[in-house]
């Protein structure tokens, strides 16, 4: 899946977690802008993992702060 398609699929998965309905850009941060707490992060990561059939380990999660970084990471993890 290319970056655009991956980004679109992730955006759709973020929607139900985007409680305030803010506009999501590559720079949108999960903790700051989307106000994800640790429980939300767990549920959200599980959804992404299942949707793309990948693993995003905690070690990798630590490097991902924004939507753009997540898209890049998922593109890479899909190989």
């Amino acid at each position: 899946m290319d970056r655009a398609a991956t980004a679109e699929k992730i955006a759709a998965l973020i929607a139900p977690f985007n409680k305030k309905g803010i506009a999501v850009t590559d720079a949108t941060s999960f903790a700051g802008d989307l106000e994800f707490d640790s429980l939300t992060v767990m549920d959200f990561v599980a959804e992404i993992e299942d949707a793309f059939d990948i693993i995003i380990s905690m070690n990798q999660q630590a490097e991902i702060e924004t939507y753009g970084q997540l898209v890049d990471a998922v593109v890479k993890l899909q190989g």
């Binding site: 599980a46 693993i55 905690m58 070690n59």
Partner: protein, 399 residues
């Protein structure tokens, strides 16, 4: 200068806010005198202990105390050394023999605490390029063991067999895999479906570590824990345990049948770079462990206590962590931290000590009053406890 402590401001404020309501500090309790495994003097008041994890009431067992006193006289107050250097005395070896017999396993390694056992074993056996797959509700010592090592850490939803299997399937071919589970999860007192989970882990070529801290001594036909109870202990590669609960003293251990297990004594840093337990402590532990092998009556009484308390609290209308009593922990779910703390204090005034647990130690942001039963609680004490919960619950407006 940046004050390195400013990161603690939110918790300092939360704590100050709670104490400003005039409540007794739930994390500042001092026991002035301990009368028995189930009763202590707190603030001058005789208090029933229902939050000590002293499941089998071994802390004042006369044989256990005698063994400790003898070892104090024979070996002194402490070893002043690492297990690898001058810190292994015959009582340490004897304690490891007791553990091997208790679990029917080939190897046993005693650590200074259970925390260090998890820290040491996990961070040492799972290295760079390996994968750890663990339950999201794992104990802090398990998480810290993961953090200290170099493996990739992959959590899955609590007790969710499918979520675990999906993640196992996605791990790259050929990578080393360690699945970490607990027998009893101490926050809600629920147990893991170990039989199914371990079968899946094995099918995917993973090694399995099970922390049985809260099951030793009373779950399973021989008190070996939840894995024994579910008939899958033979498939567990590493059992982690502690002396700080059923055994009634302090210390931690790992038992295993892995043929190369003994090398851990040289490569496991939280074993090597710390002093060994005092000989009196391991002597009390060894005596206690051997007595736990023949404690069927006490076990039966502990289970009866657990069932009575669970039923009694449920009948009063409290919300509990498990639908049925499946361990010696009965967790009472509080509506929020304020009322949880108020309930905790009301119980203390009644003369009952329970554990107040709050986020981040608890799952899903819950505030819990955790009750851990003891085989030495009498049936009358359990009824007294239920009465205390009723009065306190009504006073605070929870029931």
């Amino acid at each position: 200068m940046t004050d390195l402590f400013s990161k603690f401001d939110p918790i300092i404020a939360q704590r100050a806010g709670l104490l400003a309501t005039g409540i007794t500090d739930p994390f500042g309790l001092v026991m002035e005198q301990v009368i028995s495994p189930t009763v202590a003097l707190c603030n001058g008041r005789e208090t029933i202990l229902l939050g000590t994890y002293n499941y089998m009431g071994m802390t004042f067992d006369p044989d256990v105390l005698a063994a400790g006193k003898q070892a104090l006289d024979d070996f002194g107050a402490g070893t002043t050394g690492s297990r690898c250097l001058n810190g292994t005395y015959s009582p340490h070896k004897d304690c490891e023999e007791a553990l091997k017999t208790f679990y029917g396993m080939d190897h046993a390694m005693v650590f200074s605490t259970g925390y260090q056992a998890n820290l040491g074993i996990i961070s040492t056996i799972a290295g760079k390029g390996d994968y750890i797959i663990l339950d999201i509700d794992s104990h802090a010592s398990i998480w810290d063991g993961c953090k200290m090592g170099d493996a990739e850490v992959v959590p899955f939803k609590h007790n969710d067999i499918d979520a675990m299997e999906k993640r196992l399937k996605r791990i790259p071919e050929g990578a080393g895999k360690l699945v970490i589970l607990e027998g009893v999860y101490s926050m809600l007192g629920d147990i893991a479906p170990l039989k199914e989970m371990i079968a899946i882990a094995k099918r995917h070529g993973a090694m399995v570590l099970v922390d049985e801290a809260h099951s030793m001594g009373f779950i399973g036909p021989n008190g070996r824990g939840v894995a024994e109870d579910q008939g899958c202990l033979d498939d567990v590669d590493f059992v982690i345990g502690t002396f700080s609960k059923s055994v009634g003293t302090v210390g931690g251990f790992c038992v295993s049948n892995h043929p190369k297990f003994e090398i851990m004594r040289l490569v496991c840093r939280p074993y090597v770079f710390t002093a060994s337990l005092p000989p009196s402590v391991v002597a009390t532990a060894a005596t206690s462990i051997r007595k736990l092998m023949h404690a069927a009556d006490k076990r039966a009484h502990l289970w009866a206590n657990s069932r009575t308390l669970h039923q009694g609290l449920r009948d009063l209308g409290f919300q509990l962590g498990t639908a049925e009593p499946v361990s010696a922990i009965i967790s009472v779910i509080m509506p929020d931290l304020e009322r949880g703390a108020a309930m905790w204090e009301a119980l203390l005034h009644e003369g009952l000590y329970v554990n107040l647990a709050r986020p981040p130690a608890t799952p899903a942001g819950m505030t819990l009053l955790r009750c851990s039963l003891c085989a030495m609680h009498t049936a009358e004490q359990v009824q007294t406890i239920i009465g205390m919960f009723e009065r306190a619950g009504k006073k605070i407006g929870i029931i």
